[in-house]
């Protein structure tokens, strides 16, 4: 049983690191501020969430897991507020997003 938990936790940790790296690459590759924000929100939701889940599986039912859950709740509630404040401040400052031209390129991945 403990082997299963170990494997699950390792999978979660590896997947979380992958999404964190994806967000980091996105921060470099994306063309303007607003699109970079979407990349950063991957780090804050799925990256952080999966790493915390992996650590929680490793810790089991202890106070450590409770603290990890608190860290998770903090990220879950505070990061969208900070992102929204940033986006709104940038918009009110007059930073306009680069919008796609009407129907030029297909946006299917």
């Amino acid at each position: 049983m403990s082997v299963v938990i170990d494997v699950l936790s390792a999978l979660c940790l590896v997947a979380g690191s992958f999404f964190c790296l994806t967000g980091g690459i996105g921060l470099i590759r994306m063309p303007d501020f607003y699109t970079r924000m979407h990349a950063a929100s991957i780090v804050e939701t799925l990256g952080a969430g999966l790493i915390l889940l992996g650590l929680m599986l490793e810790a089991g039912l202890t106070l450590i897991s409770v603290k990890l859950a608190m860290v998770g709740l903090l990220v879950f509630f505070a990061s969208p507020t900070a992102s929204h404040a940033l986006a709104r401040a940038a918009f009110l400052r007059g930073l306009m997003p680069e919008l796609a031209k009407a129907e030029d390129a297909s946006s299917k991945p």
Partner: protein
């Protein structure tokens, strides 16, 4: 009154969980801190159904959050695929639409959920007007009258 009481209990449990040491002095200090924080919160006038929304807890835990987590996973996967794709297939768009919530609480939940989902970010939030930046044209088109909108409104009336 019921909000003060539940806030007090929540603060005290928060102390107990963070401390992890249960000597009489530390437990008493925790109780004292919880009362002090509650008094300060009363002075700031934030202990009410908005600052401490216990009436939403049940529905939020068992129905809304699981759905939101599923939604976050799917959209994060979609955005990740676009980031790794060599030609970076994005079509950033702005969408303006009318949310169906009436209370501030519902609007905040809806706007926070939009921002939490990778691929969409709420820029301006007001009664009857949301301005949202989306990474793709499809994402922008699917915002008005979405499932998220419907779920937030149904949670608000409960």
């Amino acid at each position: 009154m019921i909000h003060s009481f539940s806030a007090l209990i929540a603060l005290f449990i928060f102390w107990l969980l963070l401390s992890g040491m249960y000597t009489p002095f530390l437990v008493a200090a925790g109780a004292g801190s919880a009362v002090a924080v509650l008094l300060i919160a009363h002075r700031m006038d934030v202990v009410d159904h908005e600052g401490h929304p216990i009436h939403l807890a049940w529905h939020a835990f068992f129905s809304y959050w699981p759905w939101l987590v599923k939604e976050i996973i799917f959209s994060a996967w979609d955005v990740s695929k676009r980031i790794w794709h060599p030609s970076l297939p994005i079509s950033p768009s702005l969408a303006e639409f009318v949310p169906t919530q009436n209370t501030d609480m519902g609007l905040v939940i809806h706007a926070n959920s939009i921002t939490l989902t990778p691929g969409t970010i709420s820029i301006e939030v007001a009664q009857g007007r949301f301005l949202v930046h989306a990474l793709t044209r499809e994402g922008a088109a699917g915002l008005a009258g979405s499932e998220m909108d419907r779920r937030c409104t149904s949670m608000e009336v409960k």
